[in-house]
């Protein structure tokens, strides 16, 4: 049946090859490029927010648009920038690090990407319709009910289809449906990566020989697997409330908005570790390579990562200290939150000890890794402050909290991601990023970031509330708001320097060798960029940091043969088709339900085509 409908895609160049690829490396690049594009959108939104706040009583943005901007900025940066950029690294690096030829389910991997892309696009379609979500990235009920965000009177399709077949939606629907699709994409990916790491390791790659980045990928994907279904349920509840009149968040019917907060944060707190653990893993690869020492306390690092993830599921209610949960619950969640400082501290000291006594090479990747250590520690310390309910009560909804989480998400995640980008860029592209431009990029980022966010601590304790579109003069808020906005512009400049660096490096003639950094793990044993089949013969792993061991200790390293015959999974259209079907199902809730039925049909046809297509791998 399938061969008759669609010919097998065969080319490995051109647009159709990207639409049908199931190669984990190409999907990794798709994830990375898409995430960076969304980061630009989220970055522009941040610039608009800071421009509005540069002087008191500013009228640059209307209150409504300001609400929309912080909602779009938060949602985009978390779900469409940091998560997929992490996924880009999972895709590209993890199969190489464990000595595999691809992930366990190559077509599901492509499906994850397409659902992510379509979900992100659907979310951003709210710009086109002019109805932007204004509910915050946390979408607290009952702001998300029809009562408070009703939307316009008419449907979005206007006169295209009859009035009875469509219905009015607000930006909230775009937020709900977009998030639901993005969550589904990550859920599918999490199953794929868990199975890949558990089941596709090369001979000899025992768990305690796996590189730390692979370990945190495994742990992060367990977090995704277990946290995402909770927000799926919560999102369905508000969707049903809005569309079919269920009463989940109707106070008059006995509904309780606390339920939303619990469900959201049972997901939302593990989400914080989903964002930070992978960059921690990247730093754990960069520091040993440029210190020319093994990672200090490797087993402790593995156990600390697992402990952070485990505890991460038992602290969600520290986001709700001011809701009046009662003294006992507050005390338990406070104590559990403080416990997380222990495994996190273990990691900080192990990273420092890794550098101690090493012969340090201060490359740009190393600068960003060291920067990560410093900035993340500041964010971690203010996090411990919030673990104390009385202090949290003072900081709740002030800029102090904004300062805190930007120190962990920008100072932590983004610095870690830049360390990873500079480190692995030659593996992705076959070109080294320019080191001199990289140093400029690092220092501009560090200065811009700290100037933007450190003053927010002062603004917070001076009482400036979050999510308010302006402030009055005379409350001692003008100076630091001004400098914070200047810092934001410097951060924007640093991003431009980074893009310039990527541009000139990709155009440069100098090709990167297989192992430009004298690194330790298997991905550096093969060419940059690796051939489609990755490893000509699957490695026989002898030790932790096996590549280093074979190069410098056992002296048994041999470069791979150039021409081999390996059967690879063939490209497939079906992931794209199923992804489109799933997206249509969601789009039905934005425009007209008929799209949902079409989406179900497309998905079913796609699923059968998928199941019966000839597929090797």
């Amino acid at each position: 049946m399938t061969e008759a409908v669609l010919p097998h895609p065969r080319e490995n160049y051109g647009l159709s090859s990207w639409l049908t690829t199931v190669d984990h490396k190409r999907i990794g690049i798709l994830y990375g490029v898409t995430a960076v594009v969304f980061a630009c959108v989220g970055g522009i939104e941040a610039m608009l927010i800071r421009t509005q706040l540069i002087v008191p009583n500013n009228t640059f943005l209307s209150p409504d648009l300001f609400n929309a901007m912080f909602t779009m900025h938060g949602t985009t940066m978390i779900f469409m920038f940091v998560m997929p950029l992490n996924a880009a690294f999972f895709n590209y690096i993890v199969p190489l690090q464990i000595g595999a030829r691809d992930v366990a389910f190559p077509r599901l991997n492509a499906l994850s990407y397409w659902v992510f892309l379509f979900g992100g696009l659907l979310f951003h379609l709210s710009f086109v319709t002019g109805h932007l979500p204004e509910v915050g990235w946390f979408g607290y009920a009952n702001i998300t009910t029809k009562q408070f965000t009703p939307g316009p009177e008419v449907g979005l399709l206007g006169s295209v289809i009859p009035k009875g077949l469509q219905y009015p939606v607000s930006g909230t629907e775009f937020w709900i449906v977009g998030l639901q699709l993005l969550g589904l994409a990550s859920l599918i990916a999490s199953i794929n990566f868990i199975v890949t790491i558990l089941n596709l390791r090369a001979p000899g790659m025992t768990p305690m020989r796996m590189p730390l980045f692979t370990w945190v990928t495994l742990i992060t994907n367990f977090l995704l697997l277990l946290a995402l279904p909770v927000i799926t349920v919560a999102l369905f509840q508000i969707l049903l409330d809005r569309h079919f009149g269920t009463r989940f968040y109707d106070i008059g019917a006995g509904g309780t908005v606390m339920l939303w907060q619990h469900l959201f944060w049972v997901f939302g707190h593990p989400e914080v570790y989903i964002l930070i653990l992978p960059p921690m893993g990247m730093v754990s690869e960069v520091l040993p390579t440029f210190s020319r020492k093994p990672l200090f306390g490797y087993p402790a690092m593995v156990y600390a990562s697992a402990a952070i993830a485990f505890l991460g599921f038992s602290v969600w209610a520290h986001h709700m200290f001011t809701t009046g949960m009662g003294a006992m619950a507050t005390a338990i969640f406070s104590a559990a939150t403080m416990l997380i400082a222990i495994p996190t501290g273990v990691k900080i000291f192990n990273w420092i000890s890794t550098m101690w006594g090493g012969s340090l090479r201060m490359t740009t990747a190393m600068w960003f890794a060291v920067g990560f250590l410093a900035e993340f520690t500041i964010g971690g310390l203010s996090g411990i402050m919030h673990a104390s309910p009385p202090i949290d009560g003072q900081h709740q909804d002030t800029y102090f909290v904004v300062a805190h989480f930007h120190y962990v998400l920008f100072g932590g995640s983004v610095f870690g991601l830049f360390a990873g980008l500079y480190y692995w860029f030659p593996k992705f592209s076959g070109r080294l990023l320019s080191e001199p431009i990289g140093k400029v990029h690092f220092w501009l980022t560090a200065i811009g970031f700290n100037l933007t966010f450190f003053p927010m601590h002062f603004l917070g304790v001076d009482g400036m509330p979050r999510r308010i579109y302006t402030y009055a003069p005379g409350f001692n808020l003008e100076t630091w708001n001004f400098w914070s906005s200047i810092g934001a512009y410097i951060t924007l400049l640093s991003a431009l320097v980074f893009f310039y660096n990527v541009f000139v490096s990709l155009r440069g003639r100098q090709k990167a060798p297989a192992d430009p950094w004298d690194a330790r793990t298997l991905e550096w044993a093969i060419a940059s960029p690796p051939p489609a089949y990755n490893f000509a013969s699957l490695p026989d792993v002898q030790a932790r940091d096996d590549f280093w061991y074979r190069k410098h200790e056992a002296k048994t390293f041999k470069p791979e043969p150039e021409h081999v015959h390996v059967v690879l999974p063939n490209p497939s259209y079906w992931p794209l088709i199923v992804g489109a079907g799933i997206t249509l199902m969601g789009a039905g809730f934005l425009f007209a339900y008929v799209l949902t039925f079409i989406g179900v049909a497309v998905t079913l046809v796609g699923a059968y085509g998928w199941s019966f297509a000839k597929f090797e791998g």
């Binding site: 199975v195 596709l200 909770v230 799926t232 509840q237 989940f248 509904g255």
Partner: protein, 198 residues
């Protein structure tokens, strides 16, 4: 699938087929999905400001019958799996159809129950008990429906001679899903129906 990649497919670090391991992972995720739905139900079942309440409307004897049918279908899929593993294709086809029939009977009971409830004045927008009840049992019913479609697909692809390679592992993976759907129903039956006495 060529012989070489076929052999490589079966070499896994844990010795478990990747599809089956993936199903185990999905089941872990589903536990949190149903856990959230059950938590919502437990919070809301006695929070309604207007009736009907669970004790007024839930019919334990009728649902016990459909519960029994669903649990027996777990038994029949074990027999179907045994059939395909031991090469007894006729037994496989017989029992996979019987399993699908069990699932369909369960769905029939659920349709009857939902219709009856709506006629008795409990819709999903009547009160918070109704919203959380229909969402929980409806999500489970959707899982049963997906399972029935999957079972019938396995049956028809076997009849058309397309279920040849890796047939046993495909049925094994499906059976794992089906057992989960049954086990989670035991929890739901207890929490929703038997808890009216608590």
């Amino acid at each position: 699938m060529t012989a070489a990649s076929h052999a490589e497919h079966h070499h896994t670090s844990l010795g478990v087929d990747s599809r089956k391991l993936g199903m185990w992972a999905l089941i872990a995720s589903e536990c949190l999905l149903f856990g959230s739905l059950i938590a919502t139900y437990l919070i809301y079942r006695s929070q309604s400001v207007a009736g009907p309440s669970p004790a007024q409307i839930l019919d334990i004897p009728v649902t016990s019958v459909s519960t029994f049918v669903l649990l027996m279908s777990s038994f029949s899929i074990v027999l179907a799996l045994h059939g395909i593993q031991s090469g007894d294709i006729a037994a496989f086809r017989r029992y996979i159809l019987l399993t699908a029939l069990g699932g369909t009977v369960f769905l029939g009971f659920q349709t009857y129950e939902f219709t009856h409830f709506v006629q008795s004045g409990l819709g999903f927008s009547t009160n918070v008990f109704g919203s959380s009840f229909f969402m929980l049992t409806g999500t489970h019913g959707t899982h049963v429906a997906v399972g029935v479609i999957w079972l019938l697909s396995l049956y028809f692809s076997s009849v058309r001679g397309k279920l040849t390679e890796d047939a046993a592992i495909k049925v094994d993976t499906m059976a794992l899903y089906w057992h989960f759907v049954d086990v989670i129903w035991i929890v739901i039956f207890t929490v929703v129906y038997l808890f009216v006495f608590v």
